[in-house]
């Protein structure tokens, strides 16, 4: 079954990887690779804001390659959520927004979660899987 999302990264405002989820079978990354990639993306995202000819650029939102698309959402607090998806995958923005809301519910309201640290919240995992599954089902239905 084709997965619209291949993987999800969440990085904190300093560029540290706080969450990585692999949804597909191809291109699985080990921990060091994912950490490095997150840090690189953080820098690239910041550079993209500087490249803008006008002020107030909010950075890369979509990166298109031949075998994948990368959709990125940055909250005003600097936390970045980005997914690697199939090329041309639709409706990634609403999904990222849903993931942001799940983060505000099941991560930020968890007293055992320390800010900026890796996310280890069972409820976040459960709800995230459900959201991705719902999106997958909806995709097949379109």
């Amino acid at each position: 079954m084709a997965a619209a999302i291949n993987c999800l990264f969440i990085i904190n405002k300093s560029g540290g990887l706080i969450f990585y989820k692999d949804c597909g079978s191809a291109g699985r990354m080990d921990t060091n690779d994912s950490l490095r990639l997150a840090s690189l993306w953080h820098s690239m995202h910041a550079i993209s804001q500087q490249l803008s000819p006008v002020n107030g650029c909010s950075g890369i939102q979509l990166l298109q390659a031949d075998t994948f698309d990368l959709h990125c959402f940055q909250s005003l607090t600097g936390t970045k959520f980005f997914v690697v998806s199939e090329p041309g995958a639709q409706h990634m923005e609403p999904l990222l927004k849903v993931i942001y809301e799940l983060y505000t519910d099941y991560v930020l309201k968890n007293p055992f979660y320390e800010m900026e640290m890796p996310i280890r919240c069972e409820l976040f995992d459960i709800n995230l899987s459900q959201a991705i599954q719902r999106d997958r089902v909806a995709l097949l239905g379109r």
Binding site: Y106, K109, N110, P111, F112, R120, C121, E122, L123, F124
Partner: protein
């Protein structure tokens, strides 16, 4: 509540009419506040048992006041004198006011005469909380156990009240059971009342 009925330059708080209980805040506001209580108390303790106790104590203060408030507002100052009456009051009235619904179930313990259980598939206070594995069976519902204890003590039904996670077959997540163990004197009195 922090209050003593002394007259000040503003209206005496005891003269102000009791709120009808219609004001609303978001669940998020409560959840953030509750999360902060847990975090604060974690800094004040050395172990999980102490954390549980502190949460229970905080809940106790809430329970005692809820009882006063509800007795005045909903029951016209009548007092429950029977065990099932007070349990039903907690399970229905108290739960509805605090959590917006009656509790999922109220059961009598099968093993002990003095035990009753109020269970909730998902306690409101636990809605967004994932307890780390290394904290074992710790349940933030200790706060709610404290509330129940505060209500029961205030109503004249002293009990030991604790919160427990109970795994359920059909559910991914365990439910929370508030276990109430009444003091001897309560059962004796109940037996006398027939």
């Amino acid at each position: 509540m922090i209050g003593a009925g002394r007259t000040k330059q503003y209206a005496n708080v005891l003269d102000k009419p009791l709120s009808k209980g219609r004001q609303e805040v978001s669940l998020s506001a409560f959840s953030f506040l509750f999360s902060e209580i847990v975090q604060y108390n974690q800094t004040q303790v050395d172990n999980i048992a102490e954390l549980e106790r502190r949460l229970e104590d905080a809940g106790y203060a809430v329970g005692a006041r809820v009882l006063e408030l509800l007795c005045h507002r909903e029951k016209g100052n009548r007092r429950e004198t029977r065990l099932l009456g007070i349990l039903s009051f907690v399970h229905s009235t108290v739960w509805k006011v605090l959590f917006g619904k009656v509790a999922d179930s109220l059961e009598k313990g099968t093993e002990h005469e003095d035990e009753y259980m109020i269970s909730e598939n998902e306690l409101l206070v636990n809605r967004f909380i994932s307890v780390p594995k290394d904290m074992g069976a710790f349940n933030c519902g200790a706060f709610v156990a404290g509330i129940v204890k505060g209500v029961l003590d205030g109503a004249g039904f002293p009990a030991v009240v604790t919160a427990h996670f109970v795994p359920m077959e059909q559910q991914q997540r365990p439910r929370t059971t508030i276990l109430i163990k009444f003091a001897e004197e309560v059962l004796r009195r109940e037996a006398k009342l027939g």
